[in-house]
């Protein structure tokens, strides 16, 4: 009785194994990915400006060539899924742009949410015939450290995290610089004659949790606000700890409301999904807010004056383009800050319409000051 | 003497059931049963629990299909394959357990399955109107918009009846309708039922309450042990006659037994009380004792507290008062395992619920209760080979045909399962054997075998407590008999003195039962 299900399963397993070994005997094991509608005629364009390499040297910009470059084969491993309207979709836009503008053959693999499946999937991707493999997020360094050394002739690009591997080029984002601009905007708005400012020299920031990566934003923001007016007071609050801190709009709204009633004219949110609560509070209290990551200006036009953006798409495209022109250097970290459009404020029609000219000018000056190293933005990581 | 169809050849029967046989695994529920229902009568169907009356009516309502027999409705032979067929034929049934949806309203329940639609939507107003009409037509008061969970049991029953009437039935079967009602509610129900009869409805009343039958029926059909006993006019019979028909006057199975040689008291119950599953008192102070070398029988119509008493004695149910002594040791709080260790064995009344685990092997079934003891186990380890030998030994000694230790016990017939249980319970030579309904659903040959074993065991000096709904069995085996009615032992007889009539009356709580010893 009890042995039967086992026998059945054994037979099924053997059957599979038999078919499996038969399959392996067939040549041409790994299927090659079909290219996504490549358009080789599109000319490569030059990156806006070359990114800074952390060792101090400046990466050579892509040389504008009129002819189509050698066809690059690019794969991006998404440890999660597309469709987040933020980080991954932005990265995807970058590789798609490499396809249309550089004629690169692009393959995007969604790895899903099974953490333990990421490593074998990345390994398999590395075995396939791609020139560059793009990997992102701070969840991946361990896996990249394990996979990359086994494929010394392959290049990896790791964005928004860093590893020390000779065949990996890292991209990191100077969110403190972007936040500095947000701080400049906030400080200027607080001192401006916009109808809904409190009149106090006070601005606020609501962070997800009290950790280095969030504090990198907070520190830059504070510095920016006080760059406008050294007397500017910056109120800080954190939603909580762990993943729930980024998904608790009610708590964030409470914190922002408290900051508004303490005199803050504008609050910057650095709290992911909780941030919508900050925008809500600003609407209710008739004050202002600054969004983060993606462009949230449209969430509440006239209330959300701008958003601090992380341009994953630009950075990813840049590095692919460097590879296309042979200038990509692995074993380095490319820092994306203000001067190479890696971070910045969302300057769209809402920004144009609602931000006083004086503040727009201040923000532009701040950009130049950072680019010219007149201002050194502090980091939350130290 | 069979009384059947003495009257009313002029009134055409609406339902005729003939030769109905239905067998469930191990149990014959109906054997060649028959039933006639005339138009415009209240026909009581009586019998002890397990007599097969509910099964017979469930066959008529299409819930079971008979193995053999014919059903004629309105003059033509029909096959009733489902309740829907029955309803189409104008037959409805109100079950003992109501089939209503508590969160829906009365009107919604009544129209369930035949919802009126307005466009694609359920027409609630029409449903309420429909319920109201039915309610006035038949004189059953209900509030159509009340939710079922908010109304009383009596009202729920009226909803069930309306549900059937709303489907246009002309024959209404009620299974133990008064079991859940207060006396006042019951009176009201009968008032309603007579009103329905005046409108030409025919009603089947399944019950075992004889007073109810005498006051509220035109005719009575009696069943016993799955078989038809007879049909009588209510006006021409008496409670005593019905009781005799119900309890049975079969030739008693003669068991050769000598006089008991009672020894020391083995089991002593003192004012034991316990509650049933609903928390209502089921045993209301029972005292008796069983001595070594005697069989003490407990007789009674089922449902008078015997099951609960047995469970209390064997440790499956908590007592709420009184004490139980086994060989002088208080055991009323002891676990079932402790009671076994003190020398108690138990043949439970339902072999499939308590007595065996159908999907488990015969070996697994043969060792329970002793599975942790040498020789069947050593410390934590089962002695698997010894276990198999043990099972084989029981199989041989009790002549359980076709049994292999590794086969599931469910592959055996009911009688053979019962044999294995008996074998298991006797195998450790307990000082007290509690045997409940030991021969229910067992064929004649096996019954004799069981009886012989019990007598042998008594003569070997064991105390035996026998509980049986089969009066003949108690009479044949017991040296002393206690009769349970309504949670009490209302009479006690010496085995050889008791007559069936006296026992029967005591069992039904009617007449002045002679109280022998307390």
């Amino acid at each position: 009785m009890k042995s039967k299900p086992m026998i059945v399963l054994v037979i099924l397993c053997l059957l599979l194994a038999a078919c499996g070994s038969g399959g392996a005997a067939t040549p041409g094991g790994a299927t090659t990915a079909a290219p996504i509608a490549a358009s080789p005629t599109v000319e490569a364009t030059m990156a806006a400006s070359a990114p800074v390499i952390t060792d101090g040297t400046v990466g050579a910009g892509a040389s504008p060539t009129g002819e189509a470059v050698e066809k690059l084969r690019i794969a991006m491993f998404v440890n999660g899924a597309l469709g987040d309207k933020s980080f991954w979709d932005s990265a995807n836009a970058g590789v798609r742009r490499a396809n249309t503008e550089l004629g690169a053959e692009v393959r995007v693999v969604e790895g899903g949410f099974d953490v333990s499946s990421w490593e074998p999937a990345l390994r398999r991707l590395a075995q396939a015939d791609y020139d560059i493999i793009l990997v992102g997020t701070f969840q991946m360094p361990d896996i990249v450290n394990s996979v990359a050394p086994d494929f010394p002739d392959k290049k990896f690009i790791l964005f928004d995290a860093t590893v020390d591997q000779s065949n990996v080029a890292n991209i990191s984002y100077a969110q403190n610089e972007g936040s500095f601009l947000a701080g400049v905007l906030a400080g200027c708005v607080a001192n401006s004659d916009l109808p809904n400012v409190s009149g106090d020299k006070t601005v606020g920031v609501v962070g997800g949790e009290d950790v280095a990566v969030i504090n990198d934003f907070v520190v830059g923001y504070e510095q920016g606000a006080q760059y406008v007016d050294p007397e500017m007071q910056v109120l800080k609050a954190y939603v909580g700890t762990g993943a729930p801190a980024y998904n608790d709009p009610a708590k964030a709204k409470e914190l922002a409301t408290a900051q508004f009633s303490d005199g803050a004219s504008i609050v910057f949110q650095v709290a992911g999904g909780s941030g919508l609560g900050v925008i809500d509070a600003a609407k209710e209290q008739n004050r202002y807010a600054i969004g983060v990551d993606s462009n949230q200006n449209g969430e509440a036009p006239g209330v959300v004056l701008s958003s601090m953006l992380k341009r994953v798409d630009n950075s990813v495209f840049d590095l692919i383009q460097m590879e296309a022109t042979g200038s990509l250097r692995t074993g380095k970290t490319y820092l994306y800050g203000i001067q190479n459009d890696g971070v910045g404020l969302a300057e769209d029609k809402y920004y144009d319409q609602h931000v006083p000219q004086e503040c727009k000018d201040q923000v532009d000056r701040a950009k130049q000051d950072i680019a010219s190293k007149k201002v050194r933005v502090k980091s939350g990581f130290k | 003497m069979r009384m059947e169809e003495q009257h009313g050849a002029d009134v055409a029967p609406v339902v005729v059931m003939r030769g109905i046989t239905k067998e469930f695994p191990g149990v014959i529920a109906n054997q060649d049963a028959r039933f006639d229902l005339r138009e415009g009568e209240v026909h009581a169907l009586v019998g002890e629990n397990g007599a097969g009356k509910s099964t017979l009516m469930k066959i008529l309502f299409g819930l079971y299909t008979p193995d053999a027999g014919s059903i004629t409705v309105g003059g033509s032979i029909v096959r009733i394959e489902s309740p829907q067929t029955a309803i189409d034929l104008g037959i409805g049934m109100v079950h003992q357990h109501f089939m209503l949806i508590p969160s829906l309203t009365v009107a919604e329940n009544i129209s369930l399955g035949m919802e009126q639609k307005r466009g694609p939507f359920y027409d609630l107003d029409a449903a309420i109107e429909h319920a109201r009409q039915l309610s006035t037509t038949y004189g059953l008061r209900v509030d159509p918009s009340a939710r079922i969970r908010d109304i009383s049991v009596g009202e729920r029953q009226r909803v069930e009846i309306l549900k059937a009437l709303g489907r246009g039935v002309r024959v209404l079967i009620l299974d133990e309708p008064t079991a859940v009602l207060t006396p006042q509610e019951a009176d009201e129900l009968f008032h309603v039922l007579w009103g329905l009869v005046r409108q030409g409805m025919s009603i089947v009343l399944i019950t075992h309450k004889l007073r109810e039958v005498m006051n509220n029926s035109d005719r009575v059909t009696v069943m016993r042990a799955g078989q038809y006993v007879g049909t009588v006019d209510t006006a021409a019979t008496s409670t005593e006659e019905l009781a005799r028909m119900m309890v049975g006057r079969d030739i008693l199975l003669r068991v050769e037994k000598g006089a008991a040689q009672p020894g020391a008291v083995v089991l002593q119950a003192v004012s034991v009380t316990t509650d049933d599953d609903q928390g209502l008192p089921a045993v209301r102070g029972v005292s008796f004792e069983v001595r070594a070398g005697e069989i003490y029988g407990i007789a009674g119509v089922e449902g008078n507290g015997q099951s609960e008493l047995l469970e209390a004695l064997t440790g499956l149910r908590k007592t709420s008062g009184g004490s139980i002594l086994l060989n002088g040791v208080h055991i009323e709080r002891a676990s079932a395992r402790r009671r076994r260790e003190l020398g108690m064995a138990h043949i439970p009344e339902d072999r499939l619920v308590y007595g065996s685990s159908e999907s488990s092997s015969i070996a697994d079934n043969a060792v329970i209760g002793y599975h942790y003891h040498p020789p069947l186990a050593r410390r934590f380890w089962l002695a698997t080979s010894r276990r198999a030998r043990w099972a084989l030994d029981l199989i041989r000694r009790f002549d359980i045909r076709g049994a292999r230790p590794e086969a599931p016990i469910g592959s055996l017939s009911g009688g053979n399962i019962q044999k294995l249980i008996l074998a298991r319970e006797m195998s450790r030579e307990p000082t007290l054997l509690v045997a409940a309904q030991p021969t229910r659903g067992v064929d004649i040959g096996a019954i004799e075998f069981f009886h012989r074993k019990l007598i042998e065991y008594r003569d070997a000096g064991a105390a035996i407590l026998l509980v049986s709904a089969e009066l003949s069995e108690v009479l044949a085996l017991a040296d002393r008999i206690g009769v349970m009615f309504d949670g009490r032992i209302v009479a006690e007889f010496a085995g050889e003195e008791a007559t069936e009539q006296e026992l029967g009356l005591a069992m039904l709580g009617v007449g002045d039962a002679r109280r022998a010893s307390a």
């Binding site: 026998i7 399963l9 099924l12 599979l16 078919c19 361990d142 995290a161 993943a243 | 619920v353």
Partner: protein, 349 residues
């Protein structure tokens, strides 16, 4: 009892598999791709090399342990749907031993495994007690406790036990001495597999060769019969939940020591629930569970390969995988339900 021939036993699952493949083939074709490469990636690629095959072995370990954890409770008539939560706590406990203590592997590994098992057991004990003494449905309590465990461990690694400077909600890495040995060259296959396999044999022995196992089986088969036979159903239910929790805790511990090397919040893709399917596929027989887990692991590894090798989107691969599992399991589920049904009918009878 009628004995069905072996052929008759094998045919239904094979037919299920064929039907599942046919249906998923239709879906792929409807989406405009060719089903053959997908079949190949999903079912055959896991066997194409030692490297891919070893991934199957890696994935098999948690599925096997989860299947055992679910099965031991099932056999006692208890539904432990809290394996997921228990494995998270077990994983954290083991990781804690790994990063907070130092010592040679011979001390650290057993300590981490035992601590993981202990914590898993304690966490399963809770719903066990609620079920045994207050009758609270363990189905509800175990599911609710999953959330508590998952969020608690996330809190622990975002708060008190967060690795310094870590960007993610991860603990510090465990000591290298606490890593489970890997037994195939250049692969992640680790000796946790042998631990899991011996636990399957151990569970078999426990169920069929010991008095506790007997009491557990009888309680599951018919609790009233068990009670009648002097078995304390409460005690047995508690033991079953404890054993289930031990296995779940070990699952978490072995994943940490063998694959993750640290506690990562959210590392389990629902192993605790996969265990239910694995156990049912194996008809709740301990010795069949490794094979069921293997089949499952092949599909999981294959899905991962299909996502890389084929153009069919990840969601479609997930759907295919689900269809195959559903079809193959439905057959096993059906027999399980049938058996239950017979028992239930007997109890009513």
């Amino acid at each position: 009892m009628r004995q069905r021939g072996l052929v008759a036993e094998v045919i239904p699952p094979v037919l299920s598999l064929v039907a599942a493949l046919a249906l998923s083939g239709l879906i792929i074709a409807a989406l405009g791709s060719s089903p053959l490469p997908v079949y190949k990636a999903l079912l055959l690629s896991p066997f194409e090399s030692l490297a891919t095959f070893s991934e199957v072995l890696v994935r098999m370990v948690p599925l096997l342990l989860s299947g055992l954890a679910v099965a031991v409770a099932f056999r006692c008539g208890v539904f432990n749907l809290g394996v997921e939560g228990q494995l998270y706590l077990g994983a954290f406990a083991a990781a804690w031993v790994g990063f907070a203590l130092v010592g040679p592997g011979i001390v650290l590994i057993p300590a981490a495994l035992l601590f993981g098992a202990l914590v898993g057991a304690v966490y399963a004990f809770l719903p066990g007690v609620l079920r045994a003494y207050s009758g609270a449905s363990e189905i509800v309590t175990t599911i609710m406790l999953n959330y508590v465990a998952i969020n608690l461990t996330t809190y622990l690694v975002t708060g008190p036990f967060r690795a310094p400077n870590a960007a993610t909600a991860d603990s510090e890495p465990i000591a290298a001495t606490a890593h489970l040995a890997r037994f195939l060259p250049e692969s992640r296959a680790h000796v946790g597999l042998f631990i899991a396999l011996s636990l399957a044999v151990g569970l078999y022995i426990l169920l069929y060769q010991t008095t506790i196992g007997y009491e557990l089986r009888m309680t599951g088969a018919n609790p009233r019969f068990a009670e009648y036979g002097g078995i304390s159903v409460r005690r047995t239910v508690l033991i079953a939940m404890l054993l289930s929790g031990v296995l779940a805790g070990l699952l978490g511990a072995i994943e940490v020591l063998g694959v993750q090397y640290r506690f990562r919040s959210g590392f389990s893709p629902g192993y605790g629930f996969d265990g239910i399917t694995v156990a049912l596929l194996a008809r709740v027989e301990p010795l069949a569970i490794p094979f069921a887990a293997f089949l499952f692991a092949v599909l999981r590894a294959g899905a991962s390969i299909a996502a890389v090798d084929t153009e069919v989107s990840r969601e479609v691969v997930d759907v295919l995988q689900a269809i195959i599992i559903l079809f193959v399991t439905a057959e096993g589920l059906w027999s399980f339900v049938r058996r239950r049904h017979v028992v239930a009918a007997g109890q009513r009878g």
